[in-house]
Every structure is written in C-alpha cells, then in structure tokens.
C-alpha cells in the first residue's frame, strides 16, 4: 500500500490544485428514511489543503464528515461518490472491510468532546499505540508504545512518558485533545478531519491546540477538513471555506474572498453576527436579520483597525509566546508565579480595587467584595485522613458601582462561577465580606438572604439546563415572584410575566409553552425574563452566550445591553471570551486561579494588558478581524 503521507510534498497549498486531488466528493447526499440531512455536497481537496466547513448548529457539518469516514449512525445513509487519492474505490459504497484499512491510516479524525472520545478505562499510551498496531505501521507492541510516547511529545504533552501511562481522566481537556491529535497523526494520514476540536476548550488552550494542528498539518502536508462554527478560527487556519446551511453548501471560496465579499445572505449574516468589532448605526451588534447594513472587513482595511497587541502574535503558528512544550496548566502556573500581585493576596486585592474614573465613589458601590476566600473541602477520603482543599477564591476584593457593566474574565476553573454563587447568596464564603445592595452575604441566614436575592438575579450559561423542562414558561418566569414575602394574585402574575416576555422580545403566547419548544436563543431570553421580573438592581450573568450559536449570540447580547439601559441595572458579566466582554462591559477584572490579576477599564486592558496572564489571554482570544488582518499581514509580508 502506498504511503500517502510520505509522497505528499510539503508545498504551498495553492499549487496543489493542479495535481491529482486528495479528496473528491461528488453529489454526496446524507439522509435518514424521512429526510435529507446533507444534500449535493461537492468538494475537491488538494493535497495539503486546509478547508474550513462552517455553518450553524444542525446544518449538517458533522454528518458530512462522518459520511466521509463511513461512520454514519444507524438509520442514516449516504449516496453519491467519495474518492480518496490512492484508492480506486468509491468510499460511499465500499465494504466496511476495505474502509477499515483507510480509516485511521489514510484518513483520520479528531472529535469535539475530548473527554468522551477517549476510552476511560484504557491508558492513553496504549490508545495511541493501538492505531499503529492496527495498521501494522509499528513493528511490534513495544515499538508502537515507544512511538506513542514520541507522538505525545510531538503534540507537546509535558512528560510524554508519564502521560502515556495516564488514564484520560487524569489529563486536562486540552491534554486529552492533544492525545486525540497524536492518535490522528500517528500513521501520517493524508487527510485529517476535525469536528470542532477546540470548542470545548478554554481560549488559551484552544489557541495552543489550533496552533498545534496547523503546525502539524503544515509540516506533514496533511489535507485538513476543519469544522467549526467560529469564523475567526477558520480565518486563522483555513485556505478555503465552505458555508453550509440547512444541509447545503451555500457558498464556497478562498477564506479572504468569502469573508470580505460574502455572496450569500446567510454567509453575510453569519459574518455580521460573528464580528463583534462592528456595530450598526445604533451602536448595536449586527444580527443575521440586520446584516443588510453590515460591511464586511476589507482585507486592506482590517490591518489598520486591529490593535497591535492582537497582531504581533499572529502570522506564524505558535500563538502565545510560551515555551512550546508548556501545557496549559504549566502556562497558568507560570503566569501566576510571574504575577507580582499573586505573591501576596493582600497586595493583589489592594492593587485591583476598581475606582472607575466616571463619577461613583466607592460608597455608592452596589457590590462590595473584600478579601473573599472560598475554600472547598473535597470529599474526605478516610475517617482520619486530611481533607484535600481546593482554593477556588484566594482573597479577592473589588467594588462594582451602581449602573456599571462589570466584566469578569478568566479561564475555566479560575473561580468565576464560585464568585457569582457567593454574590447570589447561593454559597457562603470561607472568609471575607460581600455586600450586595447593602446586604451582607457572609454568615447571613436564609431568611436574611431573601432581600438580597430580590436585588440580584442570575442568568446562567446553559439555556436548556437553566430551565425546568417540565414547567411552562409562565411558571418558570413567575418563579421569583413566589419568593417568601411576595404575595401576588395569579392574574397579576400573568400580567407581569406577559410584560416581561414582551420586554425580552418573545411572543405573548410563549407563556403557555414548554422550554423545549424554543430555540437556544429564545430560551436564554426566557432566562433573562425570569431574572428581571422582580426588578432587581443587579443582574449577574454567567457565560450567558457561550453556549449559543453566533447567529443568536448577537441578539442576546443586544438584548442584554438594551435591558441594562432600560431597567438601569448593574451588570456583572462573566465570560471567558474577551471579545464579548469587550463589547458589553466598561470595566473588567481578569481572574486566574482564584485571584484577580488585573483590573481596569475594558479598552485599557484589551489594548495594553499589564499582567503576563492577561497578555496571554488577550493574545489567545481571536477576533475575526484580527485573524483576517494577520492573514493579510502574513501574505503581504
């Protein structure tokens, strides 16, 4: 059998089109018994070419790639033709026996969820080795094991020999995804399929993994089909883009062309909604509906717009200028030890007290946090042994003034949600003080918290999980009205709910429906309606848009923004996405490992991060314009 990877020249992708294509897909149609999921999908990919596949959730991206792999779920079938260079058979109707020799060898795939995609009961080394043993690309078991360690080193896992002996649950999300990548690259495939490989990861980690993928495929000349709904990721990685909508490819072309001159209305909408740097005449984000007025970024113009900080890192793959073999945890550690503020929590808290320049003095602060510490006791493991402690918050202090839009950013596990839970009186601090609208949270009894909770409400991340699926919207939204001390007859409740639903832009008849009858964006509106029905002074939002499609993300952000103005709310907005925070917040604190490492005005932090960790964060987060600019810079430079 021909080793495709070896013969494929490491060349400029643009010239690959002249040679025999690596992959040629013609009229691929994927369908269940009753409906088509993907129709008439055509694709020609040259060797080493990197193609992005974008589109909203449910548009058929995953179905297309699973069809290529011949791993369609039961009850779903494919027709058309798929040809892979070096194989004189049509993969669509080839017998599984033949396909098995191609899968994992010439064509491999990386899946979205790194936790569930690895066998939890098997050490990762053997899982990597298995793919080589299966295709006999390693001479022996020990050779495969040795090669597996090499591969793990290739994907920059710290201490690869130890990592090979670890079980998946002992690795972090990013590390798991590296293992997946090592596995996919083990046999030097000619074609790598990636289905949203970084969506589940933190921004900083996402950046590293993306860079790793890019570097790997470039070095090996591997063809890449990359699925994502994040346009900036495509701009970063891919030469060519396919836009899918309702199972059909609606637009196709080079990344620059499609992003600067979208032909199809849907593409334009997608671009508009993704571009958090562009606003319409009213200063609001573009949505798919209002995309008509959107002017896509022109290649030459983006270069001027984008801040230097965002630019200096791009152009070449290794994103954050961290040591190449540093894992994301190691990175975080470095950041921590380097941070002067981190040396002493007290010093840190002093350094970060926010004194916004406009108007408010600290006495007007609606939220006042001092030396907040929250330590979790992990389950005691023996009757006599010590409890292990997790320091979720290590002594943070800040004030939020009335009317402020206060952002909290930081990667997963940095303590953001813990902070919010304490603010909402859902959890008690280990030490320190938290006053919200004049109510002390620390040590408060349940009855004393009722008043606090009327003043402060939360919107959660998961638009499905935050709504009880067995309750009607009416009852969900009215729930805060049932709090002790509030007595309203049901007619008045109905009226209030109807008003609130109107305010968040939901039709009046929504009240009698169940959550599952709404889309993700609509559900998030319901959450917002519930949070606002008691007319709180403070609205706390925990990643309210990170689970949403880009196309609705803009709508929800606009809505939040409007409501904050309309109801004169103080907003505390938690996100790991700097772009979003930058749009909606005027002040921001950056959290890392339970501490605030930097705080200040949003623009100031974004433009001129002082702290090492903040810089990494800023550098890692991608914006569409920045990526396009980088691409432009790289091409012109």
């Amino acid at each position: 059998m021909q080793r495709l990877g070896e013969t494929a020249p490491s060349q400029d992708p643009n010239r690959g089109e002249t040679a025999e294509p690596l992959l040629r897909v013609e009229s691929l149609t994927v369908a269940t018994k009753d409906r088509p999921l993907v129709s008439q999908f055509n694709l020609t990919m040259a060797r080493g070419e990197r193609i992005g596949l974008i589109g909203e959730s449910g548009s058929g991206k995953s179905m297309t790639t699973t069809a290529l792999m011949g791993l369609l779920p039961e009850g779903v079938s494919a027709s058309g033709s798929i040809r892979l260079a070096g194989h004189d058979l049509d993969l669509v109707d080839a017998p599984d026996k033949r396909l098995r020799r191609i899968r994992g060898n010439d064509m491999t795939m990386v899946f979205q969820e790194p936790l569930t995609a690895l066998n939890p009961l098997m050490k990762v080394g053997p899982q990597v080795a298995e793919i080589m043993l299966k295709h006999k690309t390693a001479a022996s078991g020990s050779a495969a094991a040795a090669r597996a360690v090499e591969l793990l080193a290739d994907v920059k896992l710290p201490d690869p020999a130890e990592a090979a002996k670890a079980y998946p649950h002992q690795l972090s999300g990013g590390q798991r995804q590296r293992v997946m990548l090592a596995m996919a690259l083990a046999n030097d495939p000619a074609l790598l399929l990636c289905d949203e490989p970084t969506t589940a990861l933190d921004v900083t980690v996402q950046r590293q993994v993306l860079d790793l993928i890019l570097e790997s495929v470039q070095r090996r000349g591997t063809g890449l089909l990359f699925i994502t709904h994040d346009l900036s990721v495509v701009a970063n990685i891919c030469d060519r883009v396919l836009v899918m909508h309702h199972g059909e490819v609606v637009e196709e072309g080079s990344t620059e062309d499609v992003f600067s001159r979208p032909q199809h209305a849907y593409t334009r909408g997608l671009l508009a909604a993704s571009d958090l740097d562009a606003t319409d005449n009213d200063g609001r984000l573009f949505t798919v509906a209002s995309a008509g007025g959107y002017i896509p970024p022109a290649p030459d113009q983006v270069l001027d717009e984008v801040p230097a900080t965002a630019l200096h890192l791009s152009g070449e793959p290794a994103g954050p200028k961290a040591d190449p073999d540093t894992a994301e945890t190691a990175l975080a550690e470095t950041a921590l030890t380097e941070a002067p503020a981190a040396v002493s929590p007290a010093a840190a808290s002093r350094a970060v007290v926010v004194t916004p320049e406009h108007a408010h003095d600290t006495d007007a602060a609606v939220i006042r946090v001092r030396d907040l510490v929250r330590t979790y006791q992990r389950q005691r493991t023996s009757l006599f042994g010590q409890r292990t402690e997790v320091q979720a918050l290590r002594g943070i202090s800040f004030d939020v003034a009335t009317g402020q839009r206060f952002g909290v950013v930081g990667e997963s596990g940095s303590g953001k949600s813990t902070l919010l839970r304490i603010l909402a009186g859902l959890d008690q601090p280990t030490s320190g003080s938290v006053r919200v609208a004049g109510n002390e949270v620390a040590g408060a009894k349940e009855s004393e918290l009722a008043e606090l909770r009327r003043q402060l409400q939360i919107v959660f991340q998961d638009p499905m999980g935050s709504l009880n699926p067995r309750m009607k919207v009416q009852d969900i939204v009215a729930e805060p009205l049932l709090a002790p001390g509030q007595k309203l007859d049901s007619a008045r409740q109905r009226r209030l709910v109807a008003e609130m639903l109107g305010a968040v832009g939901l039709p009046a008849d929504s009240a009698d429906r169940f959550p599952h009858q709404f889309s993700g964006g609509q559900r998030q509106r319901i959450s917002i309606a519930r949070a606002l029905i008691c007319q709180p002074r403070v609205l706390v939002a925990d990643e309210p848009v990170s689970a949403l499609d880009v196309s609705v993300r803009a709508q929800v952000l606009n809505l939040l923004s409007d409501l904050v103005d309309e109801y004169q709310l103080t907003l505390v907005f938690v996100s790991h996405d700097l772009g979003v925070v930058r749009y909606i917040c005027d002040n921001v604190v950056v959290m890392n490992r339970g501490q605030i490492v930097e705080s200040g005005g949003t623009e100031q932090i974004y433009e001129a991060p002082r702290h090492e960790y903040t810089r990494t964060l800023v550098n890692s987060s991608m914006s569409l314009r920045a990526e396009l600019a980088a691409r432009e810079a790289a091409m012109s430079g």
């Binding site: 899968r103 298995e130 596995m183 493991t381």
Partner: protein, 315 residues
Amino acid sequence: MAIRLLINLARFAVTYVAATVLVFLFMRAIPGDPAQIALGVNATPELLAQTRAEFGTDRPLVVQYFDWALGLPFGDFGTSYVTRQDISPLVLDRVQVSLILVVLAMIVALLIAIPFGTLAAVKHRSAGGILVSGLSQLGVAVPNFLAGILLVVVFAVGLGWFPANGWTPPGQDFGDFASRVALPVLALASVQGAILTRYVRSAVMEVMSEDYLRTARAKGLGKMEALFKHGLRNASIPVLTVTSVQLAALIIGAVVIERVFVIPGLGSMLLDAVGNRDLLTVQSVVMVLVAITLIINLVVDVLYTILDPRIRKAS
C-alpha cells in the same frame, strides 16, 4: 484504594451491627415461648422455668442480645433450643450448599447472558437480536420455581436423565453432585440468565453509543473489534452491579428452588427454623445472609476499583 476499602469496611460494620439489632428485636416479636415449644404442650411451670434458664431466655433482652451478637463475628451462633445442637456447623454446611448452588447458577447465567445480551445489542434491529430480546423478556416473566418444576417433569420424571432432587456434596461424590446440581442450577440460571441478558443488552447498547467507540472505529477497528476491545470492559461495570445485587437476592431467593429440588440450603434451613420456632437459628441464618450480602457489596466495590481507574483515582 486502601482508604476506600477502609470506608467500606466501616460502613459494613455499621450496617451489620444495625442489622443485628433489627433482627434480634424482630425475632423477639415472634409469638410463642421457645421453652414452651421445645417442651410441648403439657409442660409444668417449674420445668418451663428451668428450660428458660437453660436457654437463657429469662435474662434481660440486652444481655441476650450481647450474648448472641458478640458471638456472631467468631462464628459462634449458640446452641439451638430445638435441635439442642451447635448451630454454627449446621449453618456452615448450609452456607456452602447455597453458595455453590447460587454461584454456579450465576456463572451459568452470565455464560448465557454475556454472549446473548451482546448479540441482542449489536443486532438490535435484526431478527436475531429481536428474538433474543423477546426470549429474555419471556424468561424474566417465568417464575423460577415454575422453570424448576418443568425441568423436573421433563428431564427427571419424563426422560430420567437426571435425579429429580436431592443433594450430594461435591467432595463426597462429584459425579452424583454434578447430576443433582444440574437441574436446579439450570432452573435458576435460565431465569437469571434472562434477567442478565437484558442488562447486558442495555449496557452494551449504551457503550455502543459512546464517543470512544466511534473513536475506535475511526482508528480502523471493525465494529465488533471496537466493541470487544473498548466496549465490553466499560459495559461490565453496570453488569457487575446488577450481578452483585442479583447474587445477594438469589441466595435467599433460591429457597423456592431449594423447595422444589429438596436441597438443604440456607433458605430451606430458614423456613424450617421458622416453622420450628428455632429462634436462634433463624436469627443466625438471617445474619449470615445479611453478612453475605454485605460482603458481596464489599467485594464488588473492590472489583469496581480494579475495573475503573476513575474510582481508583477519586480517593
């Protein structure tokens, strides 16, 4: 892992002690004075008093309880009021019989359930899979004593291939043991097998929908290959849980089969002891059963830690 074991041992002890109190008090509620029952109807009051003293049933309950409960861990169950015999060796005999019967039945049941359950899951849309599922549903619906009766009627009375009932210890005459144990094991295993087949099926169905199985296939493994290499060990965890629960329940649940096949197991000992108002024997048998159940749980927990590295890590 050792810590986890320690916690479990502590739980075991607490549960066991609570159970002894429960059983002891409950047994004292049984109508009938053991002395009266042992002596028959026309016993004189003096004799009754004398016998009660001999049995120790005239002492305060607390004293009786500690006398009994403290002996338990050392295998000292006391002397039966009725048989006037040391209970411990009798119980030991019966435990062996019950365990042999039930464990054999469970092994056979697993031998049935694992291949058929896997088949039913892999081919859940084809005729073969549906047939296995259907049969397992029917198997579950048949009371095991009915299965036993039918087996006796066909294979012992009708065809004469096996003895209809009775028990020979394996150490005494293995051939005879095997021929006698065959039908009761089959009766228990056919129903257990059906129950386990359903659990194996759903466990395998569940792992088949797991992402890592798709990963394995993306590596180039065939469907069955992926299932065997990556799926079965994962599926074994829920199956292990059910097996342990079933095993514990079966040790007493087999009493009906012991009845049909005249097997001197713990279950029939318990029934007889209840019939004879042999209080101490009843208490002791119940506690042995409880101990077995708890030990099974303990062992299964250790097995979990061996099977599942996530649990190993968690402690």
